[in-house]
C-alpha cells in the first residue's frame, strides 16, 4: 500500500478520535480557510461526529397535530406521521428541532409556520391551520407499575393563515 494511503488512513483515524472525544481541530481554529477545510472534511467523512447515540438518555417524543379550516369550518385534522419506519424516524429528528428550540419563541413559530406552509401546499382548499405540538409524558417504570399512565402534553399551539405565509 502506498505510504500516502497509509498516512491518510492513520490521519483519518486520529481525526475520528478527536471527533469522538468532542475535540475536533476546527473547534480550536480561528475562522478561516483551514477551519473551513477541517469542517467540510469532518462532515463528509463523519470524523467530526461523536457517537453519542441514545446518550446520555432518551428524551421525550414529539408529535405534530394539525387542524385545517376553510372559511372558519374544520375540514381536516390529523398528525404528521407515517407507517414507513425509516421516514418516521427522520420526521422525529426533524420535529425534535421544535424541542431543542423551546426557549427561542420566534424560531419555534417560524418552524411551525414552515410546517403550516407544507400543509397549505398539500391541502390547497384550506385557508387557516392550527399547529399543535405535543410531548409524550411517560411515567417511570416504577410509577407506571403503581398506576400512572402516559399522556400527551401540549407544548406549542399556533394558528396560521394562508395570507401570512
Amino acid at each position: 500500500m502506498k505510504l500516502f494511503t497509509r498516512l491518510f488512513l492513520v490521519g483519518n483515524l486520529l481525526l475520528a478520535l478527536t471527533g469522538a472525544i468532542r475535540a475536533f481541530p476546527s473547534g480550536q481554529l480561528q475562522p478561516g480557510f483551514l477551519r473551513h477545510l477541517f469542517d467540510v472534511y469532518g462532515y463528509l467523512t463523519s470524523t467530526a461526529r461523536h457517537h453519542g447515540f441514545f446518550a446520555p438518555g432518551v428524551v421525550s417524543s414529539l408529535q405534530v397535530d394539525y387542524v385545517l379550516y376553510h372559511a372558519g369550518a374544520k375540514v381536516k385534522a390529523g398528525h404528521l406521521t407515517t407507517d414507513n419506519l425509516e421516514v418516521r424516524h427522520r420526521l422525529g429528528n426533524l420535529f425534535n428541532k421544535l424541542w431543542l428550540k423551546k426557549e427561542d419563541v420566534d424560531l419555534r413559530r417560524a418552524i411551525a409556520a414552515s410546517l403550516a406552509a407544507k400543509l397549505f401546499t398539500a391541502h390547497s382548499g384550506a385557508d387557516r391551520v392550527e399547529i399543535i405540538v405535543k410531548a409524550f409524558v411517560l411515567p417511570s417504570l416504577h410509577t407506571f407499575k403503581e398506576g400512572d399512565r402516559p399522556f400527551w402534553e401540549t407544548s406549542y399551539q399556533g394558528y396560521f393563515t394562508k395570507s401570512e405565509i
Binding site: F8, G42, F54, P56, V87, S114, H142, F144
Partner: protein, 306 residues
C-alpha cells in the same frame, strides 16, 4: 528487543486478509442503502428538498450552526440553472444508480468515490436535519471502501502484498469502530437512565421509537437494568473484548449483533441495525472465519491468511 516490538507492531497492523470481508462490507452496505433509498424515495422532497417540512431560509438557519457551508444543492442548482427540486431528484436518481453499480461491483473505484460524494451531497444539505446514525456510518464505510485495495477480480487475489494492504485497511477500520463503540458507551454512562434501566423502558415505550407495547416490562423491571448495564459493559469494553482473546471477541460480537437485532425489532431502526450488523460481521467475524481453538497471536497469522 526493539526489533521484536517492531515485528509485533508490523504483524498487528498488517495481517493477511482475504478479499471477502471488504466484499461483504461493500455488498451488504449497498444493499441496505438501496432498501433505505427505496423507503425514502416517496418522501424525498419532504426530507431532503427545499420545499420540505422545514423550508428554504428556515432550513438554512437551523443548519447554520451544525454544518459547514460547502457545495449546497441550492448553489449547485443556480450554477446548473436547474430548479432545486429537479436537481434533488437527479442527484437521488444518480445515487440509486451508483448504489446499484457498487452492489454489482462495476467500475468499483470510481463508482465508490462518486457514491460517497453523492451521499455527502444528499445528507449534508437539507437532509442533515433528519439524519441519524445510519448516515454517519454509511459515510465512514464508503470512505474505507474507496481506500481499500481492489477486489480479486481486478487484482491478483493471491498476492501476499495485496492481502497485507487489505489487512492494514481492515485493522484501521477495526480501530475506528472500537473507538466509536467505546466512546458511545462512555457517553451513555454519563446518563442516569443507563444505570437504572429507565433508558430501555423509555426507548421501548415512547411512540417515536417503540414498535410494540412494552408495558410487560413492569413485570420484569430487572430486565431493563440488565439490558442497559449489559449495553454499557459491551460498548465500553468492546476494544478490550475484541483484542483480548478469541472467546471474548466471539462473546462481544455475538452480544453486539443481538443488541442490534433487538434495536431493529423493538425500536424499528432497521437500516441502522443492518448497517451495524454488516460492519461487525465484515470486520470481526469474516476475517477470522477459519479460526479454531488456538493461541490468539498464532491465530492472527494462521487464520487471517487464506
Amino acid at each position: 528487543m526493539i526489533s521484536n516490538i517492531q515485528a509485533r507492531v508490523e504483524s498487528f497492523f498488517t495481517p493477511r486478509i482475504s478479499a471477502l470481508p471488504f466484499q461483504f462490507l461493500r455488498v451488504g452496505t449497498a444493499f441496505v442503502l438501496l432498501i433505505q433509498a427505496l423507503m425514502i424515495a416517496p418522501h424525498l422532497q419532504d426530507l431532503y428538498g427545499p420545499g420540505g417540512f422545514f423550508q428554504g431560509p428556515l432550513a438554512e438557519i437551523l443548519l447554520k450552526n451544525s454544518t459547514p457551508e460547502f457545495i449546497s444543492l441550492e448553489i449547485l442548482s443556480k450554477l446548473l440553472h436547474l430548479r432545486p427540486a429537479l436537481l434533488l431528484k437527479l442527484v437521488f436518481l444518480s445515487y440509486v444508480i451508483f448504489l446499484f453499480l457498487v452492489l454489482t461491483g462495476i467500475w468499483l473505484r470510481a463508482t465508490l468515490f462518486l457514491l460517497w460524494a453523492l451521499h455527502g451531497l444528499l445528507m449534508f444539505n437539507w437532509g442533515m436535519l433528519s439524519s441519524y446514525g445510519v448516515d454517519t456510518f454509511a459515510s465512514i464505510i464508503l470512505l474505507y471502501l474507496i481506500v481499500s485495495p481492489k477486489d480479486p477480480e481486478q487484482g491478483n487475489a493471491n498476492d501476499l502484498e495485496m492481502a497485507r494492504q487489505r489487512g492494514f485497511c481492515l485493522r484501521i477500520f477495526q480501530l475506528h469502530i472500537m473507538l466509536a463503540y467505546c466512546t458511545s458507551g462512555i457517553y451513555k454512562a454519563m446518563g442516569i437512565q443507563w444505570w437504572n434501566g429507565e433508558v430501555i423502558w423509555r426507548a421501548m415505550m415512547l411512540p417515536g421509537f417503540g414498535v410494540w407495547d412494552a408495558s410487560w416490562l413492569t413485570k420484569v423491571p430487572w430486565l431493563t437494568r440488565l439490558l442497559s448495564l449489559g449495553t454499557l459493559l459491551i460498548e465500553i469494553g468492546y476494544p478490550l473484548f475484541v483484542l483480548a482473546s478469541r472467546r471474548t471477541r466471539i462473546f462481544v460480537i455475538t452480544s453486539i449483533l443481538l443488541m442490534h437485532l433487538g434495536i431493529a425489532v423493538f425500536l424499528g431502526l432497521w437500516t441502522f441495525s443492518c448497517i451495524m450488523i454488516v460492519i461487525n460481521t465484515s470486520l470481526f467475524l469474516l476475517p477470522y472465519r477459519n479460526e479454531t481453538n488456538c493461541d490468539t497471536r498464532r491465530c492472527e497469522n494462521l487464520v487471517l491468511a487464506h
